[in-house]
């Protein structure tokens, strides 16, 4: 059986918050939060442990490939060095995108009047990072396998973001009728 690393509750909560931001429907750059989760988990578990477990995982994939003749992710990411190289290349780009996003004050991209230069710059930067990031997702999945966070669930409050509130409304839930409390008090009196 694989060894599962227990993670401290404070760090666990931070990670879950970041995962909530990643899973939320704000429609902006989300890899930044995923990379944050990966970095914090690697430092908490220890890089040596992660490397040894990664090598074991790669061996398993290699054996599976030999047996089934299906091409696995072993063909793409053979060593930990390759993965770290990809992540290191990705890190400055993602942080640049995040800084560009933070500069925009209203976060409304349909309105062209306010801060057009900043919004255009942000849109340009976003096009440089493709959503097909195999290495990032594989490392995330692999770290979840090792750690005790795999049994956790993300609370629905963590998914909500203050920006773009119109997308955060759940279409399957009917809105509750709001009662004005001040009127009730008037009736009683």
């Amino acid at each position: 059986m694989e060894k599962i690393k227990n993670i401290a509750p404070a760090i666990r909560q931070l990670i879950i918050r970041d995962l909530g931001k990643y899973g939320g429907n704000s429609g902006v750059n989300k890899f930044f939060f995923l990379l944050n989760v990966i970095d914090s988990l690697i430092t908490h578990i220890g890089e040596n442990v992660v490397i040894t477990e990664f090598d074991k995982e790669m061996k398993k994939l290699k054996e599976f490939q030999k047996k089934s003749n299906h091409s696995t992710l072993y063909d793409r990411l053979q060593s930990w060095e390759h993965v770290t190289r990809v992540l290191d290349n990705l890190r400055p780009r993602l942080s640049e995108i995040q800084f560009a996003y933070d500069d925009i004050s209203d976060k409304k991209f349909k309105e062209k009047m306010s801060e057009p230069a900043k919004k255009l710059n942000y849109k340009k930067l976003i096009k440089k990072v493709s959503p097909y990031q195999v290495e990032l997702y594989f490392v995330f999945n692999f770290l979840m396998k090792i750690s005790s966070i795999q049994h956790q669930t993300i609370p629905p409050q963590a998914f909500t973001t203050p920006e773009m509130s119109k997308y955060n409304k759940n279409p399957f839930v009917k809105e509750k009728r709001r009662i004005n409390t001040s009127e009730e008090f008037r009736d009683v009196n």
Binding site: P9, G23, S71, Y74, I154, P171
Partner: protein, 123 residues
């Protein structure tokens, strides 16, 4: 892998929300995110990944009718991607059934300690 299943289901929900709002780029990105998570979970390789990357970049840079043309090409990939997502979700369900017991979340606002503890037994 409870947390990855949770994220995948949320991403699928987001995809539907964006597609209803006619935000093609966002909805497709959410779909790709679920697909990549499924691929990583299964450990399988996608041989068409480079081609997909190129088409998606062209879709982002194009405007007007050509944008729609590239979007139609991306939709052709979607069916095969959906199959891998479904197989990954099935695999997760099988894994959950094989487990003897599972601990629920400790997080719940305005509650402290034992009162927020949940124990979920498999059916």
């Amino acid at each position: 892998m409870k947390i990855i299943k949770n994220l995948m289901t949320k991403k699928l929900e987001n995809e539907e929300v964006f597609s209803k709002a006619r935000r093609r780029q966002f909805s497709y990105e959410e779909h790709v995110a679920t697909y990549m998570m499924a691929l990583a979970y299964l450990g399988l390789n996608d041989e068409n990944l480079e081609r997909k990357k190129v088409v998606f970049k062209k879709f982002l840079l194009a405007t007007g009718k050509s944008r729609l043309k590239y979007y139609k090409i991306l939709l052709k990939f979607k069916q095969a991607q959906n199959n891998t997502i479904i197989t990954a979700l099935d695999e997760m369900e099988r894994e959950r059934e094989n487990q003897t017991g599972d601990f629920g979340s400790l997080y719940r606002p305005f509650t402290i300690g034992v009162s927020s503890f949940e124990f979920e037994a498999n059916e």
